[in-house]
């Protein structure tokens, strides 16, 4: 029993260390302030609007999303790795939505870096993506990043009282395994 406890303690320490490993893309960093300033159009689609907890028309900012954690997939319709990864990200979305605890706290959006709304729509329809996706044809998201963005990149924001309180180190590249990614993101299956 004692041996098992020691293993679990060491494991927990390594898990924490691995969050850094998994999310770190060398020195790549994403900053909270430029992300908070990014304006996106409020979706016309009622399902997307409800999912994000938004009302009205016009634009919104990321901290306005009704979530404790907002996971952003930065992708491109033209990126073959993002295409190959789309089913895994769909699975991640299903895992989050399938658990009442994560469903109420975590939301996912996609940002099509350098893509037009038309191109994002082609990607979304092709892979039957259920979470909201936004075009960023002027690459405004680049302002939040410390260096050029490679796709796909995953960024998780913690939101409290309409503010971004922290940005987890970005995960650059495929997540490959949705279950494993979720466990690393939320070791106790809860975003808190």
């Amino acid at each position: 029993m004692k041996k098992f406890s020691v293993i679990m303690v060491i494991s927990a320490i390594l898990q924490i260390a691995m969050i850094g490993y998994v999310f770190a893309g060398n020195n790549f960093r994403v900053s909270a302030d430029p992300l908070a300033a990014l304006e996106l159009p409020i979706p016309e689609n009622a399902v997307d609007k409800t999912y994000l907890g938004l009302t009205g028309t016009g634009t919104f900012r990321l901290p306005q999303v009704r979530a404790q954690v907002l996971l952003i997939e930065i992708f491109s319709m033209y990126c073959p790795i993002c295409q190959a990864e789309a089913p895994v990200v769909n699975e991640l979305f299903q895992l989050i939505e399938g658990n009442p605890d994560t469903r109420s706290k975590v939301k996912i959006i996609g940002i099509g870096a350098g893509n037009t709304p038309f191109e994002v729509d082609v990607f979304r329809k092709k892979y039957g993506i259920k979470f909201p996706m936004f075009a960023d044809d002027n690459m405004l998201i680049r302002k939040a990043a410390s260096e050029d963005i490679r796709t796909p990149t995953f960024v998780a924001l913690k939101i409290e009282a309409g503010k971004i309180v922290s940005v987890l180190p970005a995960h650059v590249g495929k997540i490959k395994d949705a279950n494993a990614f979720l466990k690393v993101l939320f070791p106790d299956n809860s975003p808190n």
């Binding site: 293993i7 679990m8 494991s11 390594l14 898990q15 073959p80 037009t116 038309f118 590249g173 990614f181």
Partner: protein, 202 residues
Amino acid sequence: MLYSRVAAKFFLMFAMALMFCLATAQLGAETQDPRIYNPGVLKPTGSGTKLKIGDPAPDFSLGDLTGSKISLEQFRGKKNVVLSFVPAAWTPVCSQQWPGYNIAKDLFEKNDAVLIGLSVDNIPTLYAWTRQMGDLWFPVVSDFWPHGAVSRQYGVLRPEGVSERALFVIDKNGIIRYIDVHDINVMPRLEDLMKELDKLQK
């Protein structure tokens, strides 16, 4: 002796904990192919096509990656044709342009159009390069030898021996209906091409 037994136990526990972590997180990083060469920012265009909208499209016959010959003539009276010239394999924008078209097959089909990808690279290079794009639904042909002959015919061979990033839309009668000799550094917008294809249906 006691110390070594404790150290062995600790090492065993550490190894087990590490294995537990690895088992719960089979993760890694894979993004754009690291083999892609970055040529930097190039002169936007370096040739000057004399072809105009309304001209008959020059016919050609080039080998594709399966060893078949693809000609423009074979589509005459049957399909609209989009020619997508890309400058070079293993370069940034080119390596994404065709994968983008690869997920837009239904949009081409809706407009009764086929797509032909052309590059001045040789077949083995094109084969290796396109394998990492997934299975392409459209033929990719090599304009390698005589070097860039078809690109030259279309007026899109640049002085440095690569073609422009150019799109030609050719209708079922073999007439050029759209020419976009694009900035080589920039991805042409998919909707611009689709709008031109839509026009052919009206």
